[in-house]
């Protein structure tokens, strides 16, 4: 409750209402103002989704002629039918799913194994290697873009699923670090006891560590999935065949070829946006927590 009293005034000073002590009617007014602001915030964040949802089910004429705030009068699947038949969005959707799922499973599994080794096992060079992982955490993506492309070109892997996947599938330092920090908090006695009972390390990881670390693993999974789904620049440069396009690349292509066909490009955008909205609706608590976690750990 204390937070209410500290928060409201700072917001109020911005909206220039400086009614120091709150009388009862003043409080009601401020509450109304507060909810008005909340409403505006919700509108700002929801409108792009809502209007493109409406537009994707309208013929082009209605998109141009009607208010975008108006729901479709006679909703039609025609736009989606067109991008799935005349363009290849079914294929793009399948590609995106395939790439994202493999990327996510690989990244989480391999990062988890690395994190467990760093957190709970002893081997020579552990600290030096961990510092190397930490150092690579600081490397901005843009730096590795050109050399990675050169490596994939020379390996003859351009225009393959491997090219899209590989750089992010063998484990990334962010995920290793995230899970390592979490595994560090598991009491050492747990492992010692299991080892005395003759448990192998992989049994300890899969049967003991994974079950008690479910929240952090879900966090890493969600972050990897969102990254894989939204990734654009890397798939754009390593593929140039229609059959390998992911949704982001397919949408950008469609947009540059049919910029005025709002019915089509908005339907295409929606195919990429909606699954993330659904993911968010299901996992919002985890996602909110995931973000805070990455902040604290970094």
């Amino acid at each position: 409750m204390a937070s209410v009293t500290t928060v409201a005034p700072t917001a109020a000073t911005k909206s220039a209402s400086k009614s120091g002590k709150t009388s009862v009617p003043g409080r009601g007014l401020r509450l109304t103002g507060y909810y008005l602001i909340l409403l505006i915030i919700v509108i700002v964040f929801i409108t792009p989704y809502l209007f493109s949802l409406f537009a994707a089910f309208k013929p082009l004429g209605d998109i141009l002629g009607q208010s975008p705030a108006r729901p479709p009068t006679s909703p039609t699947w025609a736009n989606f039918r067109q991008i799935f038949t005349q363009d290849d969005f079914g294929r793009y959707l399948a590609n995106t799913l395939l790439v994202t799922v493999i990327l996510t499973i690989g990244q989480v599994t391999f990062s988890m194994m690395g994190a467990y080794a760093f957190a709970k096992m002893e081997f020579p060079g552990r600290d030096a290697l961990f510092w190397m992982y930490l150092a690579t955490l600081m490397v901005p993506n843009v730096v590795t873009l050109v050399p990675l492309y050169v490596m994939f070109a020379k390996a003859g892997l351009l225009n393959t699923y491997w090219a899209i996947l590989l750089p992010y599938t063998l484990g990334v330092p962010q995920a290793v670090f995230l899970m390592r920090q979490n595994f560090m908090t598991i009491p050492k006695e747990v492992m010692e006891a299991a080892r005395l009972d003759g448990c192998s390390e992989s049994r300890i990881l899969w049967r003991i560590v994974v079950p008690i670390s479910k929240p952090i693993i879900i966090t890493a999974t969600l972050l990897a999935f969102v990254f894989g789904w939204n990734n654009f620049l890397w798939p754009l440069i390593v593929t140039n065949s229609n059959s390998l396009n992911v949704l982001s690349v397919g949408t950008a292509n469609l947009n540059s070829n049919f910029a005025d066909q709002w019915n089509l490009v908005l339907a295409a955008s929606l195919v990429a946006l909606i699954p993330m909205v659904i993911l968010f609706a299901i996992f919002q608590k985890y996602i909110v927590r995931s973000i805070s976690l990455t902040g604290i750990n970094r």
Binding site: V42, G114, M121, V146, L166, V226, I237, A252
Partner: protein, 312 residues
């Protein structure tokens, strides 16, 4: 068991029932666990960082033999590829983007850090854009800001204002690219401020108001200083990301009109993957890396000094 339990952290203790053979087996297992991510980190991060520096000293189109040119790329990208201009454009984007995004995120956090009904829902809604595919959302923004068919100019038309051409106007194009980014990440950054706010003990405010400190001075003397770690995180990660902006600029304007929004990453993309001038693009990448590094170090230094100053 107790011997092993006592050892902590980063040392290299012997485990209790260690025989050389068991030790060797354990080390082998550890490296087996580490192998995939180690291969990934070395192959896709360490080697590329070394390679980009080497490539920046060459002229190469991937087909003809590679030619060593020393440091001449570093001069030529400024002379012939307008890389200086794209760095300025990027800096302009960062300057537009970061302060507004940070203030909006902080404002949202202050506004929503309470137990009033509805606040929790709005907190959630504000985070939703973080998941939006930037390419897809940029398409939606292109529609919103379309000069003739876009809702923004339609609304402006209702109140008698002839809206600008937005993305086709050099003056408004970059602010829209920044807006797209602010919309996407304001709620995301809000979460770090919320976490920071919730870590401030309420007793500090109680003590301050007993001492007669007003709300504004409480905000300046308690809230802001204690939010400093969150602020540093939001600024540092935001700036690093902003210097690499690509998706939104590519879809919204593709660098135009003219080269008003040709950010550094777009210049690198065009040089490397349209012009196939690998050496020049590598030199650009190295410079951008250095710029990001310097700006990041500056932020840390500034924050450290300010923190000490405030503490005294």
């Amino acid at each position: 068991m107790s011997v092993a339990a006592v050892t902590t952290g980063l040392g290299k203790p012997k485990s209790s029932e260690a025989t050389p053979a068991a030790d060797r087996r354990r080390i082998r297992t550890a490296f087996a666990f580490l192998a995939p991510s180690l291969v990934g980190v070395v192959l896709f991060l360490v080697i590329p960082v070394i390679l980009v520096i080497i490539l920046s000293l060459t002229q190469w189109n991937l087909l003809t033999p590679l030619k060593w040119v020393g440091f001449s790329n570093y001069a030529n990208i400024f002379k012939y590829d307008a890389f200086g201009h794209s760095l300025l454009v990027t800096a302009y984007y960062v300057v537009l983007n970061i302060p507004i995004q940070t203030v909006v995120a902080l404002g949202l956090a202050l506004l929503l850090n309470n137990k009033l009904r509805g606040s929790a829902f709005v907190r959630i809604v504000a985070v939703l854009p973080f998941l939006a595919t930037p390419v897809a959302m940029s398409v939606v923004w292109t529609w919103f800001f379309d000069p003739t068919n876009g809702i923004v100019n339609q609304l402006l038309g209702h109140i008698g204002i002839a809206g600008p051409a937005w993305l086709s106007d050099a003056a408004t194009a970059m602010p829209i690219v920044a807006f797209a980014n602010i919309w996407q990440y304001a709620g995301y950054n809000m979460l770090f401020f919320l976490a920071g706010l919730q870590a401030i003990p309420p007793s500090m405010y109680e003590a301050a108001s007993l001492d007669g400190a007003g709300k504004l001075s409480q905000f300046r003397r308690i809230t802001l200083p204690l939010l400093r770690p969150a602020l540093l995180f939001v600024l540092v990660t935001g700036v690093i990301g902003s210097f690499q902006v690509f998706d939104t600029a590519f879809v919204l304007t593709n660098g135009g009109p003219g080269n008003a929004t040709t950010v550094a990453n777009l210049n690198i993309y065009n040089t490397a993957f349209q012009g196939f001038r690998i050496g020049e693009a590598s030199a650009m990448s190295v410079i951008l890396f250095l710029v990001i590094l310097v700006v990041t170090v500056l932020q840390f230094t500034y924050f450290n000094r300010r923190t000490t100053y405030e503490m005294v």
